[in-house]
Symmetry: C2
Subunit: 153 residues, 2 copies
DNA sequence: TTCTTGGATAAGAATAATTCTTAATAACAT
DNA sequence: ATGTTATTAAGAATTATTCTTATCCAAGAA
């Protein structure tokens, strides 16, 4: 669920997206700005369709393809992260702080998990033979509190 | 890539699949047995299509739908694990020992990673407020040695 | 052995998510 | 203001997966 207030950016965020587009040599179009706003105000992990649906209220002609294309661009630029958590569906994350995810196997809800001690733990040496690790992402699977209560009734 | 030798099962594995099907109350059909063989002899993380393609050499009429259906069944029975690593494509894993994955961001190759020390580390307490964790899966992203060499040339 | 029954399968249609093609549009530099 | 070029909208196309349905087949009953 996206939040339902009208997406608004503070000047700092506006400067950020301006600078990022300039540095990347791409144009700051109306569509890119609005999709950026949606991402910054989303409190969960929206799919491209979530963003498109919400955005249509303000921009009725925006194409779903533009949303997909822009999210892919943002992922490349490091503004958003594409997650492969759900079955056959990409979710997007704007929380760029190091964090991990809890996924409820029943309702598929995704919650952010912070574990800085783990983030700073050295990886086992054997991995250097496989390749060079640039990032780590932990997925915790189980049942969320809401689904636990339901199954306990 | 699936291995190219003819898939053969040892008696132990055959007993295992027999017992699992019986316990689950489902029939051990020819298709299920052959798909199980493919999984047991695959050394990587095959997609449904990989398995179907390879299996067609021995069973020309097998339907891709049967492969999907059977893999879903095996996932439910705990014989295989469905992985959401790739974009828009499910991969399957028969390595049922606790392990994690290294994914090369360049060539998308997936390698198994073992890290028992991490597996036995207690999770942060805060997670109990989110839900009950049943399994953990770590994804390490980066560049594999082959892609590192290529990019270094 | 033949019959019956129900689960499993093949074939192909249907669906869902995503990406591609193309012509029109709009951002930005000049 | 104008031209250049990236970007967009629209809808078609593609890809992966699942569904529908008629058929098949294995195992137990007669």
């Amino acid at each position: 669920m996206m939040n339902m207030t009208n997406a608004e950016l503070n000047d700092q965020d506006l400067d950020q997206i301006r600078r990022i587009c300039e540095e990347a040599g791409i144009k700051l179009t109306h569509q890119r700005l609005e999709i950026f706003k949606e991402l910054m105000t989303a409190r969960d992990h929206p799919s491209a369709e979530d963003i498109h649906r919400h955005l249509q209220k303000r921009m009725p002609t925006v194409a779903i393809d533009t949303v997909y294309r822009t999210l892919a661009t943002f992922d490349e630029l490091g503004i958003a992260r594409r997650l492969h958590l759900a079955n056959n569906r990409n979710l997007f994350d704007t929380n760029l702080a190091p964090h991990h995810h809890f996924i409820c196997d029943a309702c598929r809800k995704v919650e952010d998990v912070y574990w800085p001690d783990f983030d700073s733990t050295a990886l086992p040496e054997e991995i250097s033979a496989i390749g060079q690790v640039r990032s780590r992402h932990l997925e915790l699977h189980g049942l969320c509190t809401a689904c636990l209560e339901q199954s306990g009734e």
